[in-house]
């Protein structure tokens, strides 16, 4: 159906494919059929194809490349929605090869007139960054530019990109800080969340703490916030704290957002106030947070967690709203527990009676896990508030007669903890528990009782041995934890009351010795050594009493949320209480306020900076920086025309797929392309009109590749695959810019034969902008005569089989002046001269360009492994080699490199060995690889050239031989 000519059928088919994807079925085998529809006019079909592409492009990278031309075209569409969606898909297909294309597209979109497209560009930044982190520096430039954007639509997305790519580059924020604060109200809600959390981190590094001044909460804060602050405080107390106006601005501009309907926004403002506001201002967030509790279950869960953390530090904040945390029987268990936590935190002397009454209801709850949690909460209240400890204990003892096992068990454990604080007065409770011992089956509770009896056996001297006797009977049926406690109890009793328990203890130790659990065996052995005096007179047994019956410190019952405040509130890490990936620490306040003038923005400057024309110029400048190669520094050819250089550097980033395309088709398309690009720049907007000639060249240079893809779409699948195979091969052979460009010029026309007109040519070693198979040749005309020459052009191309792209005619050339033009010649990988007729208005001269074999190449970068792999493929007939004697001065590698790259346009392959030099290039026209390898020996060198084109190979070998054998 996808192949059908009817659009409705295609759409129907595509809908089914999307249905398959939605169900998680693998629909990847349909890829070729789907990709064909990417250029379809029907928008819905197109969108579905996009959905498909984004899903499967990663798995089918080669085929996905076929669709890219469509997106590139769509990037120029006058409809901003189409531009944006093209960028979205282009950046979403995650194919590493297209990174440069994405980079260009992002840069262009970042200066698009439509804020919607700019927003998409901001999203694309993150995608590109996750695909290729090496692009970071360039992406930061784009981010910097987008941060200046005044549109509220863009702000959120670009800050998101900032957080993802370069959260540490706080310097980028300075100048935009005030703008962001002022815009915040109008940014869409999701953006608000991101911006607020970024500004929280920013403010923590840029402003000094507002907390030192207020004495009210000082006590609680001191312990927690760095002791070194106290030292500083004495110095600072002299001068009153004045809040930075920017700090105030942030607080003021976020405050209204507490009224947002979006819970995430409210939460992020709340955490901002919590982390940044002076203590007396934090209270305004309370109401809003309590309001959020009315929301969905999941929202409640997160908000309650954050309130729990806050309520530990600041009871006062939530106390008036205590009733909002009362538990309802319909709440989910985790919400109940959190509410309980908060109620416990909020409990104080004044309200404890109300809280306890609530707790009493909860204990009776049908949800037994919750009832158990309540008992723990009661225990915590009891330790925190000493007045009610007795009441709580009595209440808990009553619970011991509860029918539910978990409730009883929990009570026992909590009672044990409480008793540890004041054991002497409660021997009756211990007795009561000992009585209950037979009925309790939960191991933890049994173990607790045993421990209690052992610990306080002096208080219950009659009961303790009896309990031990019972335990000895049932020892083998107990859980491990109970067994361990039994052993301990036995040991303790042996020490205090050995008369009654000696035999019992020995019996239990014997049982323990043969237990299945090694922990118990270990413990038994240890106890035996400790308490039973052996013949070796255990040195330790003297201390046994002190070891076993040492007074133990009472356990501290504290909240599980005690240490959660190390995480920023409202974050995932806070919820999980562990550091999530990508969590950014909130820094402490700086001791001294950093310079605040960095945030000053001069209005005029800001305006100027914003105007699109300047932005454009800036981006193209950065283009230059990006593409320039170190090799170009050696380029002494100052006379190079600008366009040429640009074309060359563009070519260097290009994927080499287009090299295999037909020359004719591209030639024919070039004209169309330029008209197309003109059209788009007209129909577009002001920005595009300002695009310089240079940019148009860029587009032209890009175009041939696009055209190819559309053609390929018509090919059959098998052909596609083969094309893509080639793509893959070519990937490892990225074209590079020339290592060295010789200054040597050749004479084309002598001034005597040319009647005053002299012409010289020179190989610029740049990829030709007209056609990938051509070699660019620079012609320099100079008028040595005494009258003006007019209309210099090429007329007849005499030689056959060679394509020549002529330079545009030179209208006139004044005497004593010279002009440089460039032309492209396709030599078809032969050293046959290209002959043509050079005409002025008056006469014509037959001239010919003789290419050196070294100029028929384009340098290629590849790794050493790739080199040897490729070399392995080009053995036998394709290999030609020679030995040469070398002059001593050419032994060091630099001159040898120099000579080779001077003679031939090859790229240097990094080599692991000092005496082996490898060079790689490919033939301009056919794309065949040429590999040169020079192995230096004592006084000579072994030279090897591998290439498919044996004639070129032998010629190159001969020339290299001559060059290398000469002295430098």
């Amino acid at each position: 159906m996808l192949e059908s000519s009817k659009e409705s059928l295609k759409l129907e088919a595509m809908k089914r494919v999307v249905g398959l994807i939605a169900k998680g079925k693998n629909a990847s085998e349909l890829f070729p059929a789907v990709v064909k529809n990417v250029a379809n006019k029907n928008l819905e079909l197109k969108k579905l194809v996009y959905v498909y592409l984004v899903r499967y492009a990663e798995e089918q990278q080669d085929l996905a490349l076929l669709s890219i031309s469509t997106f590139q075209r769509a990037l120029k569409d006058p409809n901003q929605l189409i531009r944006a969606s093209a960028l979205r898909v282009l950046s979403s297909i995650r194919v590493p090869i297209i990174v440069p294309i994405m980079m260009l597209a992002i840069k262009e979109a970042a200066s698009d007139l439509s804020p919607y497209v700019r927003k998409t560009a901001a999203h694309a930044i993150q995608k590109l960054y996750s695909l290729d982190a090496d692009q970071k520096d360039h992406l930061i430039e784009v981010i910097e530019k987008l941060l200046k954007d005044k549109s509220t639509l863009v702000a959120g997305s670009v800050v998101m990109a900032f957080e993802e790519v370069c959260p540490d580059r706080i310097d980028l924020i300075h100048r935009n800080y005030r703008k962001l604060c002022n815009l915040l109200m109008d940014v869409e809600e999701w953006g608000q969340v991101v911006i607020i959390s970024m500004l929280t981190r920013y403010a923590r590094t840029q402003f000094i703490s507002p907390w030192k001044e207020d004495g009210v909460f000082e006590n609680s804060e001191k312990a927690f916030y760095e002791s070194d602050e106290e030292k500083r405080k004495s110095a600072e107390e002299t001068k009153p704290y004045a809040m930075d106006p920017d700090h105030r601005l942030l607080l003021r501009s976020t405050k209204p957002l507490l009224q947002s309907r979006n819970t995430a926004v409210v939460m992020s403002v709340a955490q901002l106030y919590w982390h940044l506001a002076p203590k007396h201002e934090v209270n305004i967030i309370t109401k809003s947070l309590v309001r959020l509790l009315r929301s969905h279950r999941e929202v409640q869960y997160i908000v309650l967690q954050n309130i729990a953390t806050m309520s530990i530090q600041r009871k006062g904040m939530f106390e008036p709203f205590m009733k909002s945390f009362y538990v309802r029987s319909t709440d989910a268990t985790h919400i109940k527990t959190l509410k309980l936590e908060i109620l416990t935190n909020l409990a104080n002397e004044a309200n404890i009676s109300t809280v306890l009454r609530e707790f009493q209801t909860y204990v009776k709850s049908q949800d037994k896990a919750f009832a158990a949690a309540t008992i723990q909460a009661i225990g915590r209240c009891a330790t925190n508030i000493s007045e009610i400890t007795d009441t709580c204990l009595n209440g808990l003892v009553l619970l011991l007669s509860n029918r539910d096992e978990t409730v009883v068990a929990e009570s026992v454990v909590v009672i044990r903890k409480l008793l540890q604080t004041q054991p002497s007065e409660h021997s009756d409770i211990i007795k009561h528990m000992a009585k209950l011992f037979d009925n309790i089956t939960v191991p933890m509770a049994r173990a607790s009782i045993l421990w209690l009896i052992g610990e306080y056996c002096e208080h219950v001297p009659k009961i303790a041995p009896d309990v031990l006797r019972k335990m000895a009977k049932t020892f083998h049926n107990e859980e491990d934890i109970v067994k361990l406690q039994t052993v301990s109890l036995a040991a303790k009793l042996y020490l205090t009351n050995s008369k009654q328990t000696k035999l019992l203890t020995q019996y239990i130790l014997n049982l323990g010795k043969y237990d299945q659990n090694y922990d118990i065996r270990d413990r038994t052995r240890f106890i035996r050594q400790l308490i039973v005096p052996s013949e070796r007179g255990g040195a330790l047994s003297k201390y046994a009493r002190r070891i076993l019956l040492a007074p133990k410190p009472a356990p501290v019952l504290q909240s599980a949320f005690k240490d959660r405040d190390r995480f920023q509130l409202g974050t995932l890490s806070h919820t999980l209480n562990s550091k999530a990936t990508g969590y950014l620490e909130l820094s402490d306040w700086p001791p001294m306020a950093p310079d605040q003038s960095v945030r000053n923005v001069e209005v005029a400057e800001a305006m100027k900076e914003w105007s699109p024309a300047v932005g454009k110029a800036k981006s193209s400048k950065s283009d230059d920086k990006f593409y320039s190669d170190s090799g170009e520094e050696e380029d002494e050819q100052a006379a190079d025309s600008g366009s040429d250089e640009e074309g060359g550097s563009e070519g260097s980033t290009r994927t080499p797929v287009s090299l295999s395309s037909e020359a004719e088709s591209e030639n024919s398309e070039t004209s169309e392309d330029s008209s197309q690009s003109e059209k788009s720049s007209d129909s577009g907007t002001g920005v595009k009109k300002t695009t310089t000639q240079k940019n148009k060249k860029l587009q032209q240079a890009k175009k041939p590749r696009k055209v190819r893809y559309t053609q390929s779409q018509a090919l059959t699948i098998s052909k596609l695959v083969s094309v893509c195979d080639r793509v893959c091969v070519c990937v490892c052979q990225q074209l590079s810019s020339p290592v060295f460009v010789p200054v040597h010029t050749y004479e084309l026309l002598h001034r005597m034969t040319g009647k005053g007109l002299a012409a010289q040519y020179h190989f610029s070693r740049q990829p030709c902008i007209y056609d990938d198979r051509m070699i660019s040749v620079q012609l320099t005309f100079s008028n040595n005569g005494d009258h003006t020459l007019e209309n210099i052009h090429i007329s007849e191309k005499t030689s056959a089989g060679q394509n020549i792209h002529c330079f545009s005619p030179i209208e006139c050339l004044e005497p004593e002046k010279s002009v440089t033009v460039s032309m492209g010649v396709d030599f078809n990988d032969s050293t046959q001269a290209a002959s043509f007729q050079l005409c002025t208005k008056a006469e014509g001269f037959n001239v010919s360009i003789q290419p050196a074999v070294g100029e028929l190449l384009l340098p290629v970068t590849m790794s050493e492994q790739d080199f040897s792999k490729e070399q392995g493929k080009l053995q036998g007939m394709n290999e030609s080699s020679a030995t040469i004697a070398m002059t001593p001065e050419s032994i060091t590698s630099q001159p040898l490199h120099r000579k080779v790259v001077n003679m031939a346009n090859v790229g240097v392959v990094p080599s692991g060995q000092n005496n082996v030099h490898r060079f790689a290039a490919k033939l301009v026209s056919s794309g065949a690889l040429v590999l040169v390898c020079v192995v230096q020996k004592d006084s000579g060198a072994q030279l090897t050239v591998n290439t498919e084109k044996t004639i070129i190979g032998s010629m190159l070998l001969r020339e290299l031989q001559t060059v290398l054998s000469q002295g430098s």
Partner: protein, 418 residues
């Protein structure tokens, strides 16, 4: 941000998946299923589950779990809020948000999700904008589309997306211009055994249905704005104006939206409009329990209490209930032990009651706690807090709109402990 989304139905099958970055294997949901198994009720599944490489944040609505896969730090509320917004959008588009509805409209769902998130970051969540991008499916449109070959997908970027009022589309036209506002208040309360109020709060919302031509600018003022203690607004409301004058001034979105939600300050005593007399007893040793419940109106300012529904989860030992209602119908589900009694209107002259006996599991001991009773009711034409809208004015357009205001009081989480 949000990496992938899985929709899981009540039986634990993934019936839809969507990835915004590279695909995450659905086996990641195994951690979720594990948690789901551990939790007895679907409501008890923790919303945030950490797994070795991802974090799962889930939302449970309409008996469907929406499980989002997160890879790095993100405010959890951000994800939760977004997921709820997704559910709201589905509901808006398909009327209901059920598994069947989603499966039927899987293409629209996919288009929506694609529009709502880009690279895991929300792109367009405003329903007005989405509806312009992707037209909601209706039978009429499907027919038209098949005949004319036009599509459901908007060709132009919605105007709202770029304007200063992103929530409103331009070029709205109606023949009848109407603006309706519903003031709905909910009472949340916990009543204890003896009938005294443990806690009671009033939460209110103003829902609007505005169908006005052009770009109207509305102002709404209250008689007693001081009642509103804590408010949250739709983004369209001008906050400054509210701060200064306590007047709601806004350019409304087109169609239905929630203008305002508010909280009435807890200092004010809340008038509880119904009371419950109950007598539920279980005797030790016998296999019978008594159940006796009577409802009555209280402080309703002469208004009728309508659509009353009483529900209660009885203790596990109750095998069956044999009750007789004086009005309405009751059901008892012996598996979930849920007793529901659809009362209807409360007639002050003849109070509704539900009496009878419960049969208990033989030999089981009596439950420690009596069940809590949840009550739902509606009282039309009354706002329990006493909030009154003063006037509604329209500027910016010439025609005269039809205006309407409706008040209503409902029970929110209204529980009676027995």
């Amino acid at each position: 941000m949000i990496h992938s989304l899985f929709l899981v139905n009540a039986t634990g099958d993934i019936f839809l998946e969507k990835h915004w970055k590279s695909a995450v294997s659905r086996s990641v949901c195994d951690y979720f299923f594990e948690a789901q198994e551990r939790a007895t009720e679907p409501e008890n599944v923790p919303p945030v589950i950490p797994t070795p490489h991802h974090y799962l944040i889930s939302v449970f609505r309409h008996r469907i779990f929406f499980v989002a896969v997160i890879q790095s730090e993100v405010p959890p509320l951000f994800v939760i809020e977004f997921l709820h917004r997704v559910v709201d959008t589905f509901q808006d588009y398909f009327g209901v948000c059920t598994e069947a509805a989603i499966k039927d409209n899987v293409v629209v769902v996919y288009e929506l999700l694609e529009e709502m998130l880009d690279n895991g970051f929300p792109l367009a969540t405003e329903s007005n904008i989405l509806k312009e991008l992707i037209k909601p499916p209706t039978i009429l449109r499907t027919v038209v589309n098949t005949i004319t070959g036009s599509t459901n997908v908007g060709e132009q970027l919605p105007t709202g997306q770029l304007s200063v009022v992103p929530w409103r589309r331009t070029g709205v036209k109606y023949t009848n211009n109407e603006a309706y506002f519903d003031v709905v208040e909910e009472i949340d309360a916990i009543i204890d055994k003896s009938g005294s109020t443990v806690t009671a709060e009033i939460q209110g919302v103003i829902d609007a249905c505005v169908k006005l031509t052009g770009m109207p600018d509305l102002t709404l003022s209250f008689m007693n704005p001081r009642l509103l203690d804590d408010v949250s607004f739709h983004p369209c409301v001008r906050f400054k104006r509210w701060e200064a004058e306590r007047i709601l001034s806004f350019i409304p979105p087109d169609g239905n939206f929630r203008l305002l939600s508010y909280h009435v300050s807890s200092q004010n005593l809340v008038a509880i409009p119904v009371y419950v007399k109950h007598n539920i007893t279980f005797r030790e040793g016998s296999s019978q329990g008594r159940f006796d419940l009577t409802l009555g109106p209280k402080q309703t300012m002469g208004k009728v209490v309508e659509s009353v529904l009483v529900s209660s989860r009885l203790p596990r030992v109750v095998l069956n209930a044999n009750l007789s209602p004086s009005q309405g119908t009751y059901t008892f589900d012996p598996v979930t032990k849920l007793l529901t009694w659809d009362v209807g209107k409360i007639n002050p002259q003849k109070l509704p009651s539900l009496k009878g006996s419960m049969s208990l599991q033989a030999g089981a001991s009596k439950p420690d706690e009596n069940p809590t009773i949840n009550i739902q009711f509606k009282i039309p034409q009354m706002a329990v807090s006493g909030l009154k809208v003063n006037r509604l004015d329209m500027y910016g357009e010439k025609y005269k709109p039809f205006k309407g205001i409706k008040y209503m009081t409902m029970a929110g989480k209204f529980q009676v402990r027995t």
